[in-house]
C-alpha cells in the first residue's frame, strides 16, 4: 500500500464520512478520554481520527472521529465487540494503515504526514509489536529473533537492556532454541522481548493471548504488566478477553467506531459489566 505523505489539515472531505476539518489547536477533551495534563506530551494520541473503508454505498465507517491519548508508562487495553473498530484504531495508531482523516501523534511526530520509508523507520525505532500468532522467524533462534529489530535498523542492541529483558522473561536457557522448540507461551515471551528490545515509545499488542491456553496467557499478561511497572514501558493492547483487560491500568471501550467509555483500575467484573452495558445500548438501539 503506497502512502503518500498527507496533511490532514488539507485532506478534503469524502462523501459519507463524519470527518471534520482539522485544526492544529489541541482538541477539546473528549468525554471518556483519560484526563491528562495539557502541557505534557502523551506517548500516543489520536485527534479526530476517522477511517472509512470502501466508498459510496458500500462505505463502512470503521472509526468515527475518535480522539484519545495514551500516557507514557501506562498499560491500556482497548476493548469492544467485533467490528467496534478496535483493530483499526490500533493499526492507525501504529502507522500500519493510513487514516481517512484526522491525526495520529507519536510523541510530537505526526504519523499521518509521513511517507512509507519514514513510517518504516519510525516503526523499527519507536514502536514495538506483539502479535496474536507470535510471528517469530522460524529459522532464527530465540536470541536472533529478539535482536531482529535492531539488526533491521543496522544498530547494535543495548546489551545491558537485553540482559535485563532476558532475565525478566526467564529466557536465558532458551536463547539458542528455534521457535518450534518453544511452547506457545515461551514464543510469545520471545515476541514481547523482541518488541521491547529497542526500548520503543510504545508497544502495540494485538490479542497477545489469543493463541494461548489460559495459564500461558496469564503468564504473558503478567510479563506485559511487569514491562510497564518495572521497566517503565507503554503498552496498548487490543483484546476481547475481560480477564486479559483486567491486567491493564485502564480499559478503553469502543463501540461502532466510537469511544464508548473508559474503566480505570479494571477488574474482570468491572470490564464485564462495562461490556454488558455496551451490549445493552446496542440492543436498545436495535430495539429502538
Amino acid at each position: 500500500m503506497i502512502r503518500e505523505p498527507t496533511h490532514s489539515q488539507t485532506r478534503p472531505h469524502r462523501p459519507g464520512t463524519y470527518g471534520r476539518n482539522m485544526t492544529t489547536t489541541p482538541p477539546p477533551a473528549t468525554p471518556g478520554t483519560p484526563v491528562s495534563d495539557a502541557s505534557a506530551v502523551s506517548a500516543v494520541s489520536a485527534r479526530h481520527l476517522t477511517k472509512v473503508y470502501g466508498s459510496g454505498d458500500i462505505a463502512v465507517t470503521a472509526l468515527d472521529d475518535v480522539s484519545i491519548q495514551f500516557e507514557s508508562g501506562q498499560f491500556t487495553a482497548i476493548m469492544g465487540p467485533s467490528g467496534s473498530g478496535k483493530s483499526t484504531l490500533m493499526h492507525l495508531l501504529a502507522g500500519l494503515d493510513s487514516a481517512t482523516s484526522g491525526q495520529v501523534l507519536l510523541g510530537r511526530t505526526d504519523l499521518t504526514a509521513l511517507g512509507d520509508n519514514e513510517l518504516t523507520k519510525l516503526r523499527r525505532e519507536r514502536i514495538g509489536f506483539v502479535f496474536q500468532s507470535f510471528n517469530l522467524l522460524p529459522m532464527f533462534t530465540a536470541y536472533q529473533n529478539i535482536t531482529l529489530p535492531s539488526e533491521l535498523a543496522g544498530t547494535s542492541p543495548d546489551q545491558n537492556w537485553l540482559d535485563t529483558l532476558i532475565d525478566t522473561f526467564g529466557m536465558r536457557d532458551r536463547l539458542t532454541h528455534k521457535p518450534h522448540q518453544l511452547s506457545g507461551g515461551q514464543q510469545q515471551r520471545v515476541a514481547i522481548a523482541r518488541a521491547l528490545s529497542t526500548r520503543p515509545d510504545v508497544i502495540f499488542a494485538d490479542e497477545p493471548t489469543g493463541n494461548l491456553d489460559s495459564r500461558s496467557g496469564a503468564e504473558v499478561l503478567s510479563f506485559l504488566r511487569r514491562s510497564v511497572r518495572e521497566l517503565g514501558q507503554t503498552i496498548v493492547m487490543v483484546t476481547h478477553d475481560p480477564t486479559a483487560a483486567a491486567y491493564a491500568d485502564q480499559v478503553v471501550l469502543l463501540a461502532d467506531g466510537k469511544i464508548a467509555g473508559t474503566i480505570e483500575s479494571p477488574t474482570p467484573e468491572s470490564v464485564m459489566s462495562g461490556l454488558d452495558a455496551l451490549r445493552t445500548i446496542d440492543q436498545t438501539a436495535v430495539a429502538g
Binding site: S87, D97, T120, R123, R124, Q132, F140, Q144, L152, H180
Partner: protein, 862 residues
C-alpha cells in the same frame, strides 16, 4: 471432481501459467524441429520432382547407358519421347568474356522439359543454344548473337610429361532462347541447353565413348499401360538400373539427400529433450508447491470423503489439462517461429526455392502435443503422491510454514554412488584414449560411449544429490558474502525448503552445465585446430609472381593494415634425383631478405638448414618424395651450372608447392635471382579476410596503374585458418543458442519458486515490514535469494560443464593432437553474469507482489 479441479486451476492460474510457459517452450522446440525438417524435406522433394517435369517414367542407371540403349528404349512401344538428363561442362565465350557453363540437352517433348523458357525458343537444331538470363548477361549476348563453346577432352598418354593430353573441341552456337534461372538448389542444372543430338556427340567426345546417360525421363503415349512399358524398358537395361515413376524416384532421392538432415533432426530433438527435461523439473516444483498450498483444501476433501485415488486423479488431471493447453500454445509458438523464419528466408535472395507455407502434418502436431502432455503429467506424479499423503486431520490443524524434512540417507548414498561412478567412467574414458595412443576409431567410439554414459550418470547423480549440495553451497557463499540481518534472512529463506531450492537450482544447473561443456569443448577444439593449422598453414599470406616482385609491390604489401612481418624469397627450378633412381623437378626457394622465423606461425614447419630441403607434404606425395630421402639437386634451365648438391628431404605440414633451402645452399646453383615471392605474417588481432582482400586490391591497383607490373598470385592461408575458426564459432553459437532455451525455462522456474516463497511467507514479510523492514530491504532480500539460488545452480553447472567439456574434447580430439585443457574464462564470466542478472530479474515480479503486502497482514489471523 472435474469441476473442483477446474476451480482450483482457476484459483492458481498465475502459478500454472508460469509452469505452462516452461512446457510451452519445450514443445515449441519440438514442434519447430519437426516443422523445419518437414519443410526441408518437402522443399527437396519439390525440387527433385520438378526436375523430372511431367515425365511418366524415370530410368536411373548407375552404370550409365549408351546411345544405342537410349535408341532402343525410345523404340519401345508406347514410349513417345526419351530425354537424357546428362550434363556436360564446357567453356562458353562471348565477345569479350568467357564463362564455365553446364550444357544440357533440350527435351524432345515439352512434357519432359524442366527448363523454363523466358524468351525466344528452345534449340531444335545443332548449332543452337538457349542460355539462362544470368549467363547471357555475363557473356553480354542476346538472342541472335553467337557464342563459341569448347569442350575439353582428356586423353591418358603415358609419354607426355603431364601423363595425358587434353584436346578441346570448339563449336559456334547461336543463341535462340533465354531461360529463367533454374532452381540451383541440390541440382547442378544446365545453364545452357543445346539440341540433344549435338549433346550426345559432345558427350561421346568428352567421355571417350563411355556410356554417358545416367538418368533418362520418358514420356508415354496417351493411354499407354505404365506397368507394361516399365517392364519392357526394364528388360532392355542392365538389371542394376531402375525404372521408376517420378513420385517413387523423388521419394528415394529425397531420402538420400536429406539423410544428413535427419542427423540434424536428431540433434535438434536432443536439445528439445534437454529443454523438456528442464521444463519437467519446473513443473514438478510448481505442482509440489501447489499441493503444499492446497493442503488445507485437500485435507478438507479427504475429511468429507474423497478417496486417495480421487485426490491423485485430480492433481494428474490438472497436469494433463495444463500440459494440453501449454503444448497447443507451444505448437503455435513453434509454428510461428518457423513460419517467421521461412518468411525471412524467402525475402533473402537465396538460390534455394523455399516453400514458405508450413507443412502441418499430423505428426508435427501430435508428437509435441503427446510429448508435452506426457512430460507434464509424469512430472506431476510425485506431487500427486504427495497430495494423497495429506491426512484428513490436517484440515483441523492450523497451518504454519514448517521447515521441510531434510532428505534421507538413501538419497545421499545413491547420489554419491552415481557421482563416483559417473565421474569414474569419465576418467576411465579419458585414460583409455590417452594411454591407447592409437587413433583407431573403435577405441574412440568405445571411449565416447563410456564417457557419455559417465556424463549422464554423473549428471543424474548431481541432480539427485543437489538437495545436499545446493543448500550447503548457498550457506557457504552466504557466510562469505551476506552481512547484515536481511542477508541472513535471505540465506535462511533460500535454504528453508532444500528440496525445492535444489530442484530449482538443478533446472538451471542442467542448462549451464551443457552450455559450459559446449564452450569448453569448442575452446579446446579451436585451440587444437589452431595448433594444427599453425603447422599446416604456417604462412599467413604468400605473394608470388613468375618474374620478380618490384619494390613498389613489396612496400605496398608491407604497408597494408594488419601485415606485421614479411620476408622475401627467391625461387628457381632444380632437377632432383632420388636415391631410388627416380627423378623429378622441384621449385625451391630460399630467403633473400628477412628472418623466416618472424613470419612463421609454427617455426618447425619450415626450418631449412645446410643439408636439408624442406618439402611440403602435398608436394612430397605428388613428387613421390618421402621424409628422409636423399635427393641430389642440380640446376635446371639454360644458365644452370653443373653444380650438384645432395640434401636430405624433410617433409613438413607446410602447404604449397615450393620446397625450401637455406640461402647458402641455394646460392650454389648460380646467381640468386631477385625475390619473386613474399611471405607475410598478419597481426593476431587482424581481420584475416580484410587484410588479404586489401593486399589483393592494392596489388591489382598497382598492376593497372604501373606499366609492366604483373598482378602477383596471392594465397592466403590466413583466410582458410579464419574459416576453420569461424566454423567452430558458428557451431558453438548455434548450439549455445539452442541450449539457451533450457536456461530460459529454468529461469521461469526460479521466478516461480520465488513467487511461491513470497506467497508462503506473506505473513512473515508483513511482520518484518511491521518491525521496520523497508520496501527496498524486502526487495533486496528477494533479489539476494534469487541470485543465491541461480548462482548455486550456475556454479555447480559450470564446474560440471567444465569437467564434461574437458573429458569430451580429450576423447574426441586426442587422435588429432594433444588436447590442452582450457578454461573458457570469458564464457564462464558470461554464464555467471547471466545467472546473476537472471536471479535478479526472476525476483523482480515476486518482489513487486511482496512489497504490496501491507504490514497489517501480519496482525491478522489466516
Amino acid at each position: 471432481m472435474l469441476r473442483l479441479t477446474l476451480h482450483q486451476m482457476r484459483a492458481s492460474a498465475g502459478r500454472l501459467v508460469a509452469a505452462g510457459i516452461a512446457i510451452m517452450l519445450g514443445t515449441a522446440f519440438v514442434a519447430a524441429s519437426l516443422l523445419a525438417t518437414a519443410t526441408i524435406e518437402r522443399t527437396t522433394y519439390n525440387s527433385v520432382s520438378s526436375s523430372y517435369s511431367d515425365a511418366d517414367l524415370v530410368v536411373v542407371a548407375s552404370g550409365g547407358l549408351t546411345d544405342d540403349e537410349l535408341a532402343s528404349i525410345a523404340a519401345v512401344e508406347d514410349v513417345d519421347a526419351v530425354h537424357t538428363m546428362a550434363l556436360l561442362g564446357a567453356e562458353a565465350s562471348g565477345p569479350s568474356r568467357t564463362e564455365y557453363v553446364t550444357l544440357g540437352g533440350a527435351a524432345p517433348d515439352s512434357s519432359l522439359e524442366s527448363a523454363d523458357l523466358a524468351e525466344g525458343e528452345l534449340p531444335t537444331a545443332p548449332g543452337q543454344v538457349a542460355l539462362t538470363t544470368a549467363v547471357a548477361e555475363r557473356l553480354q549476348v542476346g538472342i541472335g548473337d553467337e557464342i563459341s563453346s569448347s569442350v575439353e577432352q582428356w586423353e591418358a598418354d603415358p609419354d607426355s610429361p603431364d601423363g595425358g593430353t587434353s584436346q578441346s573441341q570448339t563449336a559456334t552456337l547461336t543463341v535462340v532462347g533465354l531461360l529463367n534461372e533454374p532452381d540451383a538448389f541440390l541440382f547442378n542444372r544446365a545453364s545452357a541447353l543445346i539440341e540433344p543430338d549435338q549433346l550426345s556427340e559432345l558427350l561421346a567426345l568428352a567421355r571417350g565413348g563411355e556410356p554417358a546417360h545416367y538418368e533418362l525421363t520418358l514420356a508415354l503415349a496417351a493411354g499407354a499401360d505404365l506397368e507394361e512399358v516399365r517392364d519392357a524398358v526394364g528388360g532392355l537395361v542392365d538389371p542394376s538400373a531402375h525404372v521408376r515413376t517420378v513420385e517413387e524416384q523423388a521419394k528415394i532421392t529425397t531420402a538420400q539427400l536429406t539423410g544428413n538432415d535427419q542427423i540434424m533432426t536428431v540433434l535438434l530433438l536432443g536439445f528439445a529433450t534437454v529443454a523438456l527435461a528442464v521444463a519437467a523439473l519446473v513443473i514438478t516444483n510448481t505442482f509440489q508447491v501447489l499441493v503444499a498450498q492446497r493442503t488445507r483444501t485437500l485435507a478438507l476433501l479427504r475429511c468429507v470423503g474423497a478417496a486417495k485415488a480421487q485426490v491423485r486423479r485430480s492433481v494428474l488431471l490438472e497436469a494433463a489439462i495444463l500440459g494440453t493447453l501449454a503444448s497447443i500454445a507451444g505448437i503455435a509458438l513453434g509454428s510461428g517461429l518457423v513460419a517467421a523464419g521461412l518468411a525471412v528466408l524467402s525475402t533473402l535472395e537465396l538460390d534455394v526455392p523455399i516453400d514458405s507455407g508450413l507443412t502441418l502434418s499430423p505428426a508435427v502436431i501430435l508428437a509435441p502435443l503427446i510429448t508435452g502432455v506426457l512430460v507434464t503429467t509424469a512430472a506431476a506424479l510425485v506431487p500427486a503422491r504427495m497430495a494423497t499423503r495429506v491426512a484428513p486431520l490436517a484440515a483441523l490443524h492450523p497451518m504454519e510454514g514448517r521447515d521441510a524434512p531434510s532428505a534421507g540417507r538413501a538419497r545421499a548414498v545413491l547420489s554419491t554412488a552415481l557421482l563416483v561412478g559417473g565421474f569414474g567412467l569419465l576418467a576411465l574414458a579419458m585414460v583409455v584414449v590417452r594411454s591407447s595412443g592409437s587413433d583407431s576409431e573403435d577405441t574412440i567410439l568405445l571411449a565416447l560411449g563410456v564417457g557419455l554414459l559417465g556424463g549422464i550418470v554423473s549428471l543424474v547423480g548431481l541432480l539427485v544429490g543437489s538437495v545436499f549440495v545446493v543448500p550447503r553451497l548457498i550457506r557457504l557463499v552466504g557466510r562469505l558474502a551476506g552481512q547484515g540481518v536481511t542477508g541472513k534472512i535471505a540465506i535462511a529463506n533460500s535454504v528453508r525448503n532444500p528440496k525445492r531450492t535444489a530442484s530449482t537450482a538443478s533446472a538451471l544447473l542442467i542448462g549451464v552445465a551443457l552450455v559450459t561443456m559446449m564452450s569448453t569443448g569448442a575452446m579446446s577444439a579451436r585451440e587444437t585446430l589452431t595448433n594444427e593449422l599453425d603447422s599446416r598453414f604456417p604462412v599467413d599470406l604468400s605473394v608470388a609472381t613468375g618474374e620478380s616482385l618490384s619494390d613498389v609491390q613489396i612496400s605496398a604489401v608491407e604497408g597494408v593494415d594488419g601485415v606485421t612481418e614479411s620476408v622475401l624469397l627467391s625461387q628457381r627450378d632444380v632437377d632432383a634425383a632420388n636415391e631410388d633412381g627416380t627423378s623429378t623437378w622441384l621449385t625451391v626457394a630460399a630467403v633473400e631478405d628477412g628472418e623466416l622465423q618472424n613470419v612463421l606461425r609454427d617455426p618447425a614447419a619450415a626450418q631449412p638448414e645446410p643439408g636439408i630441403v624442406v618439402v611440403p607434404s602435398e608436394m612430397a606425395s605428388w613428387q613421390g618424395i618421402e621424409d628422409g630421402d636423399r635427393l641430389s639437386l642440380s640446376g635446371s634451365g639454360p644458365e644452370a651450372g653443373s653444380t650438384e648438391v645432395t640434401v636430405t628431404a624433410r617433409v613438413t605440414g607446410l602447404d604449397g608447392m615450393v620446397a625450401l633451402l637455406d640461402p647458402a645452399t641455394f646460392a650454389e646453383f648460380g646467381e640468386v635471382a631477385p625475390a619473386s615471392m613474399l611471405w607475410a605474417r598478419l597481426a593476431d588481432d587482424a581481420n584475416e579476410r580484410d587484410a588479404v582482400r586489401s593486399v589483393q586490391s592494392t596489388l591489382t591497383d598497382l598492376s593497372e596503374s604501373v606499366e609492366g607490373l604483373q598482378a602477383p598470385e596471392i594465397s592466403g592461408a590466413a583466410v582458410e585458418r579464419a574459416a576453420y575458426g569461424q566454423v567452430v564459432d558458428t557451431l558453438l553459437a548455434v548450439v549455445v543458442g539452442l541450449l539457451g532455451v533450457s536456461v530460459v525455462i529454468a529461469l521461469v522456474g526460479v521466478a516461480n519458486t520465488l513467487s511461491l516463497s513470497v506467497i508462503e511467507r506473506r505473513r512473515e514479510s508483513a511482520m518484518l515490514r511491521a518491525l521496520g523492514l523497508t520496501k527496498a530491504q524486502l526487495r533486496g532480500m528477494l533479489a539476494l535469494e534469487g541470485v543465491l539460488i541461480a548462482g548455486a545452480g550456475a556454479l555447480i553447472g559450470a564446474i560440471a560443464g567444465l569437467l564434461y567439456g574437458w573429458a569430451g574434447s580429450t576423447v574426441m580430439l586426442s587422435s588429432v593432437a594433444e588436447v590442452p585443457l582450457m578454461v573458457p574464462w570469458r564464457d564462464l564470466a558470461l554464464v555467471a553474469a547471466v545467472a546473476l542478472v537472471a536471479g535478479l530479474l526472476a525476483s523482480a515480479l515476486p518482489a513487486r507482489s511482496a512489497v504490496r503486502t501491507s504490514p497489517v497482514a501480519a496482525l491478522g489471523v489466516e
